[in-house]
Amino acid sequence: MAVSGMLKVKDKNPEATLEELLAGWLTQGKLSAILVPVLAKSGAAGAALVSDADRIAGTAPLLPAMAVNAASVVRDIAKLRSEGTKVGVLLRPCEMRAVVELIKLRQVLADNLVLVGIDCPGTYKAAGFRDVAGTDSDFDNRHVREQQNYYDNPNLRTACQVCEHPKPMVYDLEIGFLGLDPDKELWLDGATDKGAALLEGVELAAGEEPGQMQEYLKELAARRKNKAETRIKELDEAAMGPENLTRYFADCLNCHNCMRVCPVCYCRECFFDSENFQRRLDEHVRVSKRKGLTRMPSETLLFHLTRMNHMMTSCVACGICEDSCPAGIALLPLFKKVSGNVQAEFGYLSGRSLDEELPLVGFREDEFTAIGEG
């Protein structure tokens, strides 16, 4: 049975209010542990698996900095079947979308997880976040309080500046604040039995989802969509065709960081790292002879185009690939464009629903019938 309503925020401190809620889930034994964003004393932004309710106070559920897409963490901890434990995972919308893809790809087992999605006005790069936040202990709260400022904030991660999905789409429980005054109240939506169970005994002002949330969201999505379209248009002019595409990736070091940090690029051993892909010296010479010379490291463009073919249907445009690229290649706009186009072919949106079939897994006999017929 679904349960939803408004949670009163104490002392104009939504983060502390959330921490109290989370700590309650641990003390009441509703959860054995919960994955929450943290900002460590060292300044490192990340996530922690918290099992001791007393340690929740040191976490940062509203942290507006992203070091990894936490779906990668969920994939690492919840791949194997496990007994008798229930773990909550507090995830931003793009992280949740990636988890949904991973569940469908059978890389995450959700049986023992409770998916807690939280609204996100946008995040900063984890690297350098210390300098952005400074010593302001109220920074996280200010970030959600001044959400109107994040319509067009040029300091956010590039992915966030063009993100059209700042609200989780699939969840057991949603923590919402976009469009609200988070100094006063937070919207909690326990959409499933698991989510509703977390709200048992929590005092809520019952009611419908307030209209202003949808209005704010519409406005935000429209502005960002606009910005995304502009970026993609720039790209259409810059990255099209063999020459421009090669130039786009000219600085690529072939380090494969972009793949390793990608939440949906899940293969334990990438094809590109496999024996299959190793060439003998004489084979390298044979390939070189085709053009007279081959660039070394070789096949960087092959890597990127293949990666696109393998995971574009699940890309959530989180931009973590771009953040991790040591060569500073603008991966996000390109991947956002390509994944948008590919997903549109199948009427699919990554992470929108657990029931939508993965485009490259299923098929229908009566579709795309012109292909193959000449």
């Binding site: 185009l305 590919v342 490259l360």
Partner: protein, 140 residues
């Protein structure tokens, strides 16, 4: 200048198009020698990486031949190949690469004539396009 001879890499399904090619050969049908055939076990086994590698190394065209819908030896390999081709071409279009250098066609073991005609047709189409830009572009 010597006339441009397209180099086409063909991935042919063992159970249909490869046998169709064989039939065209044993029936002494004439068709251009521009396709280098590679026998694969199913059109569904042709990963994008093989098509892309051929293209980036300078092949002027890539051909994939599979069983007609409903006839795949492994039931649904060709249906999946079809979906992957939709994604593949969408990606090529998105990055401005020529999607018409890659052909997927259904040709059965009995269709030797169709095989010869398709190779002829493709060779002409690619010859009209001219050489792939990746022939010269070494820094890919």
């Amino acid at each position: 200048m010597a006339e441009f001879e397209p180099r086409i890499v063909g991935f042919l399904c063992n159970w249909c198009t490869y046998a169709g090619a064989d039939l065209a050969g044993t029936s002494r049908m004439q068709y251009p020698p521009n396709m280098r055939p590679i026998r694969v076990m199913c059109s569904g086994s042709v990963d994008s990486v093989y098509i892309l590698r051929a293209l980036l190394e300078g092949a002027d065209g890539v051909f994939i031949g599979g069983c007609h819908p409903g006839d795949c030896h492994y039931v649904s390999g060709n249906y999946k190949a079809r979906r992957r081709m939709v994604a593949f071409k969408s990606i090529l279009r998105s990055v401005g690469l020529d999607q018409d250098r890659v052909w997927l066609r259904w040709i059965s073991a009995a269709e030797g004539r169709k095989f010869a005609d398709t190779v002829t047709e493709m060779t002409r189409a690619i010859a009209d396009k001219g050489p792939s830009e990746f022939r010269e572009l070494w820094e890919v």
